[in-house]
């Protein structure tokens, strides 16, 4: 019996998804540095070893390349492997198995095999952690043919998208933002899927389209509420996936509003925001009432010191300013 309107924190929604899928399917395997340690993973992996044993829930030596390759290899022989990197920055040691191997596996083998692995990469930033503990590398992975990339923004979405990712026959990168971990939402108890590659209109509006994903959808939601009180009607789109991008959803909205602000939690150059902006300009130039605006991080590594950090990250105030400027 499902409890109606049950609220669950985002991190516990991940934990529940893993428990339910691993219970249902013995072929699901979780590998990751720190799956035993809340210091690494919060409560996303709690009880998993007790429930499924150390053979299927594997804490690892610090060997990102081989551990990621092992997950890819297990998936190539038919297991559903999840490889978790508690900081996305460390997954860069594993570019070969992610990009050379998994992403290309289906194509270079003429569709005769695939690597249905999930790369669970956690963004864990701020708190003066500086450049190598703060990166949000969305477009780096979204650039690669053969990969799919999900970037959920809330507890309900993460359960549905992670379920889809694990069930997907192709490799999926799950970019997980720790800033979401404590945020609660309504989450059904039973497993469900959300389609990879489809976004959602979080709130309908007429004056301007605001596109975002991952943690920044929370900031955009707050900004949208404030703007509403100022009589500005924002249509807020949450991408849910950043590869494939749901361009149709964005196009239909921009045709209606004629204005677009893209809020993207990574660097501006060659970003998801750049990709959306280019696509809108290629297809909808006649519909635009003002230039597309990209709100990104500045093209600089993340700083340590609090004064610089405060300047670096995107806030609802910066989003409101971007929307108001685009409406001028």
């Amino acid at each position: 019996m499902s409890i109606l309107n049950r609220k669950l924190a985002y991190s516990l929604a991940i934990n529940e998804t893993l428990k339910q899928i691993m219970e249902r399917d013995k072929e699901v395997l979780l590998i990751g540095q720190g799956v035993k340690s809340p210091w690494y993973v919060g409560n996303t992996c709690q009880d998993l070893i007790e429930l499924f044993g150390e053979e299927r829930v594997i804490d690892t030596p610090i060997s990102e390349n081989a551990m990621t390759g092992a997950a890819v290899g297990a998936s190539i022989v038919g297991m559903k492997a999840i490889i978790m990197h508690p900081r996305i920055d460390f997954s860069l040691y594993a570019f070969d198995p992610i990009i050379n191997q998994a992403a290309n596996w289906s194509y270079m083998n003429g569709g005769r095999a695939s690597a249905p692995v999930v790369f669970w990469l956690v963004i864990n930033r701020a708190g003066e952690q500086a450049a190598q503990h703060s990166q949000a590398l969305y477009s780096l992975f979204a650039h690669i043919p053969g990969l799919k990339v999900i970037a959920p923004s809330n507890a309900y979405d993460v359960k549905g998208l992670l379920t889809s990712a694990i069930n997907d026959p192709d490799p999926v990168v799950f970019i997980d933002d720790r800033w979401l971990y404590g945020i609660e939402d309504f989450v059904p108890e039973e497993l469900y899927e959300l389609p990879i590659g489809k976004g959602i209109i979080k709130s309908p509006g007429n004056d301007i389209t605001l596109v975002s994903s991952s943690f920044l959808t929370s900031e955009c939601t707050a900004a949208t509420e404030i703007l509403k009180s100022q009589k500005i009607s924002v249509e807020l789109i949450d991408l849910r996936s950043i590869k494939p991008l749901d361009l149709d959803l964005i196009f239909n909205s921009v045709k209606k509003t004629g204005r677009l602000v893209i809020v993207d939690g990574s660097w501006k150059s060659n970003s998801i925001a750049s990709e959306i902006s280019a696509s809108v300009n290629e297809n909808l130039l006649g519909h635009l009432k003002s230039p597309v605006f990209r709100l990104n991080l500045p093209d600089a590594p993340a700083p340590a010191s609090r004064t610089l950090e405060a300047e670096y990250y995107i806030t609802k105030e910066k989003i409101i300013e971007a929307v108001r400027n685009t409406l001028l």
Partner: protein, 326 residues
């Protein structure tokens, strides 16, 4: 003679099939019919033949850029391999992979790629799957001496030892890392010793003696199947051809960069000739039997080439097919 007639003929046949298929590619490479980079396995046949002879059909192998021999020895279809090398839709990877991306999952050829050491960790994962599933499958990771420069090998050795995985690290040491002789890439030329600090049983075998390969790999495979893996075996061998293509072809010169006397020394250690001499000495096959066997294999290669040449090239409209499964 401790070896049965059947096993000797089978090893000879496997090696000769590989050699004949490989050498059939030389002319089409030189005249431009074959364009994909081809790394010929000629000279190293004893390793694939001897090791795969002990594997079950359901066991897995992973290979590298020089893996035609592994593919054939594990049971991969020859016509599909040659068609792949010609870039045809009828190839094992439907013309999307070429010589360096052969696959035949139904026969346990799970992945072959040219990123040096790229499949070592994939084989590690397949061995992990075998351990979790308790299905007793053994996994062989074939890589060369050049791959010992890659960090992922050492990460994989550590993890395989830690979890006692059923994996054989099969290092084919042909003494050259593309153009560089082994003395220029490492201090200790005994590659097998690098596995010892990880607590892995490791040893060196004459990779041109198929019976030594057979015996040593049987021991290793039995250990892996009985949860006593992993095992690291260094097979000492030599490639008869260039790193890529029939010769090293530096600036169109069609010469080999290796010392002439070194090449001649190794040509005398031809693994196929070596086994043939043993078989003649032990009256396993007559001259006529050998002649018939060669004739049969020549025909098989001819038929496989015929299949490849008659297969279509992929349709340009299918360019984007297979990027994703769905």
């Amino acid at each position: 003679m401790k070896y049965s007639k059947e096993i000797l003929i089978s090893l000879y046949r496997t090696m000769l099939r590989i050699r004949t298929a490989e050498e059939s590619l030389v002319e089409p490479i030189l005249n431009g019919e074959i364009r994909t980079p081809v790394h010929l396995y000629s000279g190293e046949e004893a390793i694939a033949a001897g090791l795969c002879a002990n594997l079950n059909h359901s066991d897995y192998i992973f290979g590298n850029h020089r893996s035609h021999g592994h593919y054939l020895a594990k049971g991969g279809d020859m016509g599909a391999m040659i068609a792949e090398i010609y870039g045809k839709e009828g190839g094992c990877s439907r013309g999307r992979g070429g010589s360096m991306h052969l696959i035949d999952p139904e026969n346990g050829v799970m992945g072959i790629v040219p990123i040096v050491a790229g499949t070592i960790s994939l084989a590690l994962g397949a061995a992990l799957a075998s351990k979790i599933r308790k299905d007793k499958k053994v996994v062989v990771s074939f890589f060369g001496d050049g791959a010992t420069g890659e960090g992922v090998l050492y990460e994989s050795l550590n993890f395989a030892a830690l979890k006692k995985l059923p994996i054989i690290f099969a290092c084919e040491n042909n003494l050259y890392s593309t153009h560089l002789p082994i003395s220029e890439i490492r201090v200790n030329e005994k590659i097998y010793e690098t596995a010892k600090p990880f607590g892995i049983e490791s040893y060196r075998v004459d990779g041109n003696n198929v019976l030594d390969v057979l015996d040593s790999s049987k021991n290793a495979i039995d250990k892996c199947r009985n949860n006593q893996g992993p095992v690291f075996i260094e097979f000492l061998t030599y490639r008869f051809r260039g790193h890529v293509g029939p010769d090293d072809n530096i600036q169109g010169s069609h010469v080999d960069i290796r010392p002439k006397d070194e090449i001649e020394k190794w040509l005398k250690k031809d693994p196929i000739q070596h086994l043939k001499e043993i078989m003649i000495k032990n009256h396993v096959l007559s001259d006529l039997d050998f002649s018939n066997l060669h004739h049969e294999i020549n025909k098989e290669v001819k038929d496989a080439t015929h299949y490849a040449l008659n297969s279509n090239y992929p349709n340009p409209s299918d360019l984007l097919k297979y990027v994703y499964t769905k």
